[in-house]
Amino acid sequence: MLPFAVALKSGESPYRQIVYAATKAVVSGELKPGDPFPSVRELSQALKLNPNTCQKVIAELVRDGLLEVRPGVGTVVTAARRSSAAERRELLSGQVEQLLVEAKRLGLAEADVLNAVAARWSHLFGERRDASR
């Protein structure tokens, strides 16, 4: 069994599904800094997934700063790192704009979107305040 929830769906890149599932587990605190992350072999066996793909997943998570490879220990979850101003801008203006345009197209009101965001945030992350802020 894996230390984070992932159920691979057909018709979607397994690579992206796992990267997302792992990212979600890290940001929601399910996986904490210092927790060991499954090896390529463990991912491959647990998900019956090609080890090359598993290797790419881990490489991506390392690149994103969620995991680090500690010599003699293996791959572990890293402590939260500061995001760059560019990353924050891309998310808070870029992706938010996409969401709002889509919401408007579907005829939703500002309140609908804000309520949905608040509900989802508390579902995923609970009432906890992010300690690093």
């Binding site: 691979l8 397994p14 998900l47 090609n50």
Partner: protein, 307 residues
């Protein structure tokens, strides 16, 4: 390095061409799913790779060496499981291992032990007493023990129950996958190949209809669903012929696009569906792609026959 290099391979049975000018290049370390309908030529291709059939036309190289020039040692690094692999029924598993190991300079007895334990096979049992699943596990053990750099398997999971398939897949991934050996697995059942394979090829009508990394296939094949604003009768003839599995029902149109890219959403779709109420793009599953390609080929064959 290219593990399997095939160039302009043609093979006919009498007047009928099973393979026609087939080109194929499988990179080292790939887990290659060779898909195709029954009778498409997969077994013929694998037999030609293994030197079991004479090459009538074309060239075959394995692990960088021309097929006819492979040394004994090089050959022992190429493993093969035939469709319905015939193992000597009267032998016990341990006798079969003792029989095979001197034929392979690279035979790894420790690996054979590991696999036997992993697959829970009693070495003293006669092969004729093994169930279908145990039989395939024994075949896989014998194919993996010589530590092949290239393993060719013809329909190894066909007809296996879920539990056995699960064990075979994990065994294969654990050994071949983690060692970086090249694996070619032919199947007419898409099944779990979507997760196992990182390369996929589709053999139909004698040649490779496609052969590419799984990720590339995912990027370019999309299932598109369009909801039109009204029931305007758009004749099917105006839609691009490369779109496959085109279906229409009332205001809904769906199809598989094989050439998806950024301009598809911004230019191509609006151009063909200016009056769409909604357009959704999904990743096509391997099954979707397989069905689309096989169906297209059937239609093409029927049209040629009629002409």
């Amino acid at each position: 390095m290219i593990a399997v290099d095939v160039s302009r391979l043609s093979y006919r049975y009498g007047k009928v061409f099973a393979l026609r000018d087939l080109d194929l290049a499988i990179p080292e370390g790939a887990f290659y799913a060779l898909l195709g309908p029954n009778g498409a030529g997969k077994t013929t291709l694998l037999q030609l790779l293994m030197g079991m059939r004479r090459i009538q036309q074309g060239r075959v190289s394995l692990l960088g060496v021309e097929r006819s020039a492979l040394s004994i040692r090089e050959k022992s690094t190429i493993g093969y499981i035939a469709e319905g692999q015939a193992l000597p029924k009267w032998m016990r598993l341990e006798e079969l291992e003792r029989y095979l190991s001197p034929l392979y300079p690279t035979w790894d007895a420790a690996l054979a032990n590991d696999l036997r334990e992993r697959f829970d096979l009693d070495p003293r049992r006669k092969i004729r007493t093994l169930s279908r699943g145990e039989y395939m596990k024994a075949a896989l053990l014998c194919a993996l023990a010589p530590r092949p750099k290239l393993l060719l398997m013809d329909e190894p999971f066909t007809g296996m129950d879920v539990l056995v398939k699960d064990e075979l897949v994990r065994g294969l991934l654990d050994v071949a996958g983690n060692e970086g050996w090249s694996v070619v697995l032919s199947s007419h059942d898409v099944g779990e190949l979507e997760l196992l394979a990182d390369w996929v090829g589709f053999l139909d009508a004698g040649h490779m209809q496609l052969s590419e990394p799984m990720e590339a296939l995912r990027k370019r094949f999309k299932r598109v669903e369009v909801v039109l604003r009204d029931d305007t009768n758009r004749p099917a003839a105006t839609l691009p012929t490369e779109w496959m599995s085109v279906e229409r029902a009332g205001v809904r149109v769906s199809f598989i696009a094989p050439n998806f890219n950024e301009t598809f959403v911004s230019d191509v779709l609006p151009a063909h569906f200016p009056d769409a109420a909604r357009i959704e793009v999904f990743e096509a599953t391997l099954r979707d792609v397989y069905l689309a390609l096989a169906t297209r080929e059937r239609s093409r064959a029927r049209r040629e026959e009629a002409a």
